[in-house]
Point group: C2
Chain length 470, copies 2
C-alpha cells in the first residue's frame, strides 16, 4: 500500500552470490528487469523496489542451499509465492534475491481421516481444493485472491470464512521452515494440539518472511457441508446490520460467512454488474450444515435481522444463485475499478471489537465524504474487520497523500477502539508506522525475536520494523 523506490548502494558481494546461485540453479535464476519487476509488484498500490535477481526453487534442499549462499554473502532474501500481497511484502528495498517458491507446488500428503494435508508452499488455495475435491473435505480460508498457502501462512491471512473456521493462525498445524542459517526445522507434528514447548508454528505464521522461509505447510481440513445456503438482507442503518451480527454470534448460530457491503458498494455493484439490490447497507451470509440445520440457521438470522430493521431477507440453497451472490461479493474490488477507469484501489484493513464496528464505520464514512474520497466498504463483519476500498488516482501524489492521511485517521479510530491496523493484510512496508502506534510497548520484544532468529538481518529485511534509527 505504498509506492517508494529507495535509492541504495549495490550489495557489495552480489555478483559472487549470483554466480554461485547460477551454478546451483542453472537457468532458474534470472536478473532480467522484467522478471525482477514482476516479482516486486503486489496487487493494488504496492511498493516496487525490485530485487536484484529472482531464484525459482524446486525443493527444500534447494532453499537450504540458496539461503546458505545468501547468508555467506549477506544478500537479503525475499520470499515470493503468487505476488498477491498488498502491503509491499515482496518488494526489495534493500535489494537482494526474490526467492520464488511457486514451483514448489506439490500436495505431499492428504490425510482424510485426520482432516489434514501437507503441502509445499507454492500450492494455491484453489489448487488445494481442486486436488482434494473427491475426498469430501475442503480448506476454507478464502482471502479472495488465489494466493499461495505459504504466503497465506506468512501474512496470517483470513477472509470471508474466518468467522466460522478461523484464520491461518488457527488452521496451520505445523510448518517446515528453512531458518536464516540454512537449517531446516519442523515446528510441529500432525497432532491437533500440543503443549510441547514454545509455539513456533505461531511464531512463523504472520512473520512475513522475516524469520525464515516456509517450505512445507500442514493445514487443517473440514468436511464439505451437506448443505450450503446463501442469504442476503438490507438494513436502513449500519447499526441494524451490526446488531444483527452480534445477536447471531451471541445466539451461537455457526454462521460460515457474514459480510457487509455498504450502500456505496451496493450502488456500484448494481450499476456495474447488473444487480438490483436495494441501495442500503447489506449483509451477505452463508450457512453450512445439514438441510434442517441451514434452514434453522437462516430462519433464526432472519428473525434477528427483522428485530434490527433488516428487510428483503432472501435465502437459497441453489448453487447457481449462491455462486452469483458470492461472485458479486468477491468482485467488489474489480467492479469498483471498472466504475472508475484509470483509477486504482487503496484497501484499508482495520479490525475492531464488533461492538465498536458501527461507530468506526459511520465516522469513517463521514470522514471519507468530508475528504472528498470515494470509499465503498466490504467487510468481514463477523470478525469486526472491514475494508474501505478507497479509489485513488495513482499518478496524483497530492491525492495519494490525502488517502494516506485518511487511512491514518481511520487506523487512529480503530486503535482507540481497541482494534488493530491490519486484520489480515499484514504490515509489510506499508504499515510500519502503524505497527509502532499499535504495539509501541512490545515492538522491542518482536525485534528481539527477529535478532535472535536472523542476526544478520537477511530475511526480508526492512519489513514490519523500521530500519534502525528511523
Amino acid at each position: 500500500m505504498v509506492k517508494a523506490v529507495t535509492a541504495r548502494a549495490p550489495l557489495p558481494r552480489l555478483s559472487d552470490a549470483i554466480a554461485q546461485l547460477r551454478n546451483l540453479l542453472g537457468d532458474r535464476i534470472s536478473t532480467s528487469t522484467a522478471v525482477c519487476a514482476q516479482h516486486s509488484t503486489g496487487v493494488f498500490l504496492s511498493a516496487n523496489d525490485p530485487p536484484d535477481a529472482v531464484a525459482f526453487a524446486q525443493s527444500t534442499a534447494e532453499v537450504v542451499e540458496i539461503v546458505k549462499i545468501c547468508a555467506a554473502h549477506a544478500i537479503p532474501i525475499i520470499p515470493f509465492g503468487t505476488g498477491t500481497s498488498v502491503e509491499g511484502h515482496i518488494a526489495a528495498p534493500m535489494g537482494g534475491l526474490s526467492l520464488d517458491v511457486s514451483r514448489m507446488d506439490r500436495v505431499l500428503q492428504v490425510n482424510t481421516e485426520d482432516l489434514d494435508v501437507v503441502v509445499e508452499p507454492g500450492v494455491t488455495r484453489k489448487a488445494l481444493n481442486s486436488h482434494i475435491r473427491d475426498t469430501g473435505l475442503f480448506f476454507p480460508i478464502d482471502p479472495g485472491a488465489d494466493a499461495s498457502l505459504g504466503g497465506m501462512a506468512a501474512t496470517r491471512a483470513s477472509g470471508t470464512n474466518a468467522v466460522r473456521y478461523g484464520t491461518m493462525r488457527e488452521n496451520v498445524l505445523a510448518l517446515q521452515v528453512v531458518t536464516a542459517d540454512g537449517g531446516v526445522i519442523r515446528t510441529g507434528g500432525r497432532a491437533r494440539k500440543s503443549s510441547a514447548g514454545y509455539d513456533l508454528t505461531r511464531v512463523f505464521v504472520g512473520s512475513e518472511g522475516t524469520l525464515g522461509i516456509i517450505t512445507e505447510v500442514t493445514l487443517r481440513l473440514y468436511g464439505i457441508p451437506e448443505k450450503t445456503a446463501a442469504a442476503v438482507c438490507s438494513f436502513k442503518t449500519i447499526e441494524g446490520a451490526v446488531d444483527t451480527v452480534i445477536s447471531t454470534i451471541q445466539a451461537g448460530v455457526p454462521i460460515a460467512r457474514i459480510e457487509l457491503l455498504d450502500d456505496c458498494q451496493i450502488d456500484i455493484l448494481n450499476k456495474q454488474a447488473k444487480f438490483d439490490f436495494p441501495v442500503l447497507d447489506t449483509l451477505f451470509m452463508e450457512f453450512h450444515g445439514t438441510a434442517a440445520g441451514v434452514q434453522e440457521q437462516a430462519e433464526m438470522v432472519q428473525a434477528l435481522a427483522s428485530d434490527n430493521g433488516g428487510g428483503n431477507f432472501t435465502w437459497t440453497t441453489q448453487a447457481e444463485e449462491r455462486t452469483k451472490l458470492w461472485q458479486a461479493r468477491h468482485d467488489a474490488t474489480w467492479v469498483d475499478k471498472q466504475a472508475y477507469p484509470g483509477w486504482d484501489v487503496f484497501a484499508t484493513d482495520v479490525c475492531v471489537p464488533i461492538s465498536r464496528l458501527a461507530g468506526v464505520v459511520t465516522s469513517s464514512k463521514r470522514d471519507a465524504a468530508d475528504s472528498g474520497l470515494i470509499a465503498p466498504i466490504v467487510g468481514h463483519v463477523g470478525d469486526g474487520n472491514f475494508h474501505m476500498l478507497v479509489m485513488v488516482k495513482p499518478d496524483d501524489p497530492a491525492y495519494l497523500a490525502r488517502v494516506h492521511a485518511f487511512n491514518d485517521r481511520l487506523i487512529g479510530r480503530a486503535l482507540a477502539a481497541g482494534g488493530t491496523c491490519t486484520g489480515e493484510h499484514g504490515i509489510g512496508l506499508g504499515k510500519i508506522k502503524h505497527l509502532y502506534a499499535e504495539h509501541g510497548d512490545s515492538v522491542h520484544v518482536m525485534q528481539a525475536i527477529k535478532r535472535a532468529l536472523d542476526p544478520q538481518n537477511i530475511m526480508n529485511p526492512g519489513k514490519i520494523f523500521a530500519p534502525a534509527g528511523k
Copy 2:
C-alpha cells in the same frame, strides 16, 4: 510428573532480595517451610524442590517491582496460580521466589457484545463462569481442575471441550505480560484477528512462565447453548469407538465433547461410583445447539456409532442426568485413587493424529498389561489426546522406574505416529527429554527466543529446556 530434589548452593544475593521484597510487600512475603512446600507441590506426582520464598502480588505494578528486585539480584521467579500443574512447573530446582498471583483475582472487563473478557491471572475458570453467569455467555475451556486462567494460558491448557471450542491457544485474545527486565507489554488488543507483527500472544501462551509473568488475560467467550444434550455409547472394540469419532468429525457434527473411557476405567467407575455401564470402551459425548440441532446431532452420531458396532446409545437433555454423567468422567482420577488406597496416579498425556489413535491405544494397553501396570484410560478422543492414569506406589522407586519406562515407550509410539509427548500438560521438569525427542531440530530456536527475552535466565529457569551441558 517427576520427583527430584536437586542439591544446590544457596543463591548468593537472596537475603538482600528478600529484604527489599519485604519492604515492598510487608507480610505478603513468606519464607516459611510450609508455605514454600505448598508452593512447589502440584497434583499427582510432582517435583518438590521448594522455592526460597513466596511473594503474594496484588497488582501488575507490584509484579513489576518484584521482577525488578529479582532481576537486580539474579533471583529466579516461578509464577504460581493454583498449583494444579502436573509436570513440576511450580517447583524451584534453582531456588528463588514463587510469585503467587492468586490474589490478582479481579474480572476487569466483561464485554458481552464482543464476547470477550479481561481478567487478572488469578481468576479461576469456575470463578469466571460464576461471575458471567447472568450474561448468557460462558468460557468453555475445562481442564478438569479449577485452574487459574493465567496458569491455563501459561501451559496452553485444554480439556474436554477443545474438540469444539479449541484450546487456550485459540481462546486467548491477548495478554499483558511483565517481561524479564520488569517492562510491561500488551501482546494484542481485543480485535478477533490481527496481522500486525509477530504473534506475541502465542509466544507467551504455553511458555510456562519462562519468558515473563502473565498479569492480564483477554479471553474469548461463547453464548451458552440453548440446549445441551449428553450421550453415552459402548463399543466392543476401540477401533469402533475411534471410527465413530472420525466419522462424526468428517460429517461436520459440531460435537462439544467426545471422551473415551476404556473398559478398565469403566470397571473402576462402576465399582467405586455405583454406575452400571457395560464394561467396554465407552464414549461420553455432549452436544450444544438448538433443541432441534442437538436432537439431529445425537441421532446422526447414534447412526454412525451403530455403523461402527456401538451399542447402548442413550442420550438426554435432562440437566441432572447430564451432570451425573460428566461428574463420572471428571471424577475418574479420584475414583482410581479410591480404588487403590495409598497409591498415586501418574498421568500420561500423548496426543496423536486420530487415525493413529486406536493403534497407539491398543499397543499401549498391551504394553501396560505386559508391564504389570494398572492404567485406566480417559481421553479427549476428538483431539487424539488420551491419558493413561497409571497407578503407582509413590514410595517404591523400582515401581516408579517401571512406570517411567512405560511412559517413555508410550511417548515413543506417539512420536512415531506423528504426535506429541504432551497434548495439554506441558513440559515443565517432567518431559524435558521428551521435548528434545519431539522437537530436536527446533529446540535451539526455542532457546534462542528464551535467551533473547530472558538473557539472565531468571524466568522459571530449568523448565522446558535442559540446563546447559545436560
